[in-house]
Symmetry: C2
Subunit: 262 residues, 2 copies
C-alpha cells in the first residue's frame, strides 16, 4: 500500500485501515526516502510495530522473508508514494502470484501527478518522464537531455526526477541536476538546456508548504531549495492559465515566461 508523499499523514484511510488489520507490517524507504516521516507516529497510527526492509530484503531475500510470511499470514508492505510505480514492487507482486499469494493494492499519492499539480501545469500536456542518475566516471547517460528535447519539440512539459543514492543515503539536488544537463548541452549545443531556458524547481512535494520556484536555469542554479526530494519540470508551450499559475505560485518573472506562451 502507498504511503503517499512527504510524511506519515500521506497515507489514505483505506491504506491505514488495511495496515491496521494486517498481522505483520513492513515498510521500505530505499526506492524513495521520506526524511520527514516519523516512524514513531506511523507505528502509533497503526497500533503495532513496523519492520523496515532494505533493498536486499525485497530484491534478493524476499522468498525467505516477506513472501514466506505472506504464505502464512496477512502481511502489509508500506511503500513511499504509490506502491506499484517502481519495478521492484511489480516484480515482488509477480513472485507472490507465482507462490499462490493473493495481493491487493492500495494506491498512494505519487510524485508523477502531485508535482505537475502543485505547480499548476496541465498534467495531460506532459510527455515522457525521465530520471537524472548520479553520474560516475563511466556512466553518464544523455537520455534525460534527449527526453527533454523530444518533449520540448512537441510543445510538451517534462517531469525530471532526481536520483536517490540509497547506499549513501543521498538525494540529488536541483543544482546538481541542472549542472548535469548543462554539461551535456555544452557538448551537444542543441539549445535545449541553456542558461536562459525556463525551468521549475519543486522541493518537498506532499508537504503542507512545498517550495516551488520557476525561473531561467541560471537563476535557479543559485536558489536554495531546502527540502527533499527535489524535482525539476521543463515546461513546453504554456496555456495562459499555466502562465498565471507559474507567475503566482512559482514567482516566475514575466520575461522568463514570454517565450513559452501559446
Amino acid at each position: 500500500m502507498g504511503l503517499g508523499l512527504h510524511y506519515e499523514k500521506g497515507i489514505s484511510l483505506a491504506g491505514l485501515e488495511k495496515a491496521r488489520k494486517a498481522e505483520k507490517v513492513y515498510v521500505e524507504f530505499y526506492t524513495n526516502p521520506m526524511p520527514y516521516l516519523s516512524m514513531e507516529n506511523l507505528q502509533k497510527f497503526l497500533g503495532k510495530p513496523i519492520i523496515i526492509l532494505k533493498r536486499k530484503d525485497l530484491e534478493e531475500k524476499a522468498k525467505e522473508g516477506i513472501l514466506k510470511d505472506a504464505l502464512k499470514m496477512d502481511v502489509a508492505l508500506l511503500v513511499p508514494g504509490d506502491p506499484m510505480v517502481a519495478t521492484t514492487h511489480v516484480s515482488l507482486r509477480i513472485q507472490a502470484y507465482k507462490m499462490g499469494i493473493k495481493t491487493e493494492i492500495v494506491n498512494g499519492v505519487s510524485i508523477y501527478s502531485a508535482a505537475p499539480s502543485i505547480v499548476g501545469l496541465q498534467i495531460y500536456k506532459f510527455g515522457k518522464t525521465v530520471t537524472i542518475p548520479f553520474p560516475t566516471l563511466t556512466y553518464k547517460p544523455q537520455t534525460p537531455y534527449d527526453v527533454i528535447k523530444e518533449n520540448f519539440v512537441r510543445g510538451l512539459h517534462t517531469l525530471v526526477l532526481l536520483d536517490v543514492d540509497y547506499e549513501k543515503g543521498k538525494c540529488m539536488n536541483i543544482k546538481d541536476g541542472l549542472e548535469y544537463l548543462l554539461e551535456i548541452e555544452k557538448e551537444r549545443k542543441e539549445k535545449i538546456v541553456t542558461f536562459d531556458r525556463l525551468v521549475v524547481g519543486v522541493a518537498g512535494v506532499g508537504s503542507p508548504n512545498p517550495i516551488i520556484k520557476g525561473n531561467i536555469v541560471k537563476k535557479l542554479l543559485n536558489y536554495q531549495f531546502k527540502m527533499y526530494p527535489q524535482t525539476l519540470i521543463f515546461p513546453g508551450k504554456l496555456h495562459f492559465m499555466e502562465v498565471e499559475a507559474l507567475k503566482i505560485f512559482a514567482q516566475t518573472p514575466e520575461e522568463a515566461l514570454k517565450p513559452y506562451e501559446e
Copy 2:
C-alpha cells in the same frame, strides 16, 4: 484537498485532519464522479456537514459563494482525485490569490498515476495523456487518435481517459471509447487502432478490486466492465516485466502481447 479515487476512504490522513479543522467544508463531483463514495460516511469521518457544489458554483458563482466564505473563515474544498489536476481548480486558486486568500493543497491519488500502476506498466514510459469526449453531430475531434499514434510511434504507452457528461450524469464506457477510435481508424486507415491492436481496459481504479483486462480491441469490445469510471491504456513497447504483469494481472493472452515485446 484531494479525495483520491473510488470512495470515501481514498482521502489521506493529512486531508482528513485539515477538513476536520475547517469551519466550512465543500465538495464537488462534477469534474470526476465518485459513485461509490458515501456522503454519509464522509460526513461521519469529518464530524460535520459537507455542502455539495455544482459546476456553476465553482465556475461562475465562486466569488459570491465559496470565495466569499474563504475571506471570512477557514474553508475546505474536497475534490475527487488530486485537487489541482483540473483547470477549474487552478483557476479558482488563482482567483483566491487575487482576493488575498491563502490556499493550501493536500494532494490526492490521481488516475494519472494509479491506472498505470495497477496495470503494471512503467509510468515513465507513458507519453502525453488524452481524453475521449462524448461526440456530438458537429464535434468529434481526432486528437485522441493522433495522441495514441504519436506515442505509439515513439514506443510509449498512452493513458486514454473517458469523458464524463456532468449534465446527464453519465460516464463514457470502454466500448464507446473503442468505437470512437475505430471509426476514426476507418477513415484514416493508419493502422493505429485496429481490431487486433493490444489495449488494456481498467474500471474502478482505487477500489479494493479494480477490473483490469488486456486483450486485442475486438475482444475488449465485448467484455463487460462493471465498474466506473473506466479508462483505456494503449501500450507501446513492452519490457518483459510489463509483459508478465499484463499476463498475470490483466489476463492478457500471450499472442496479443507478442508484437509489443521489446
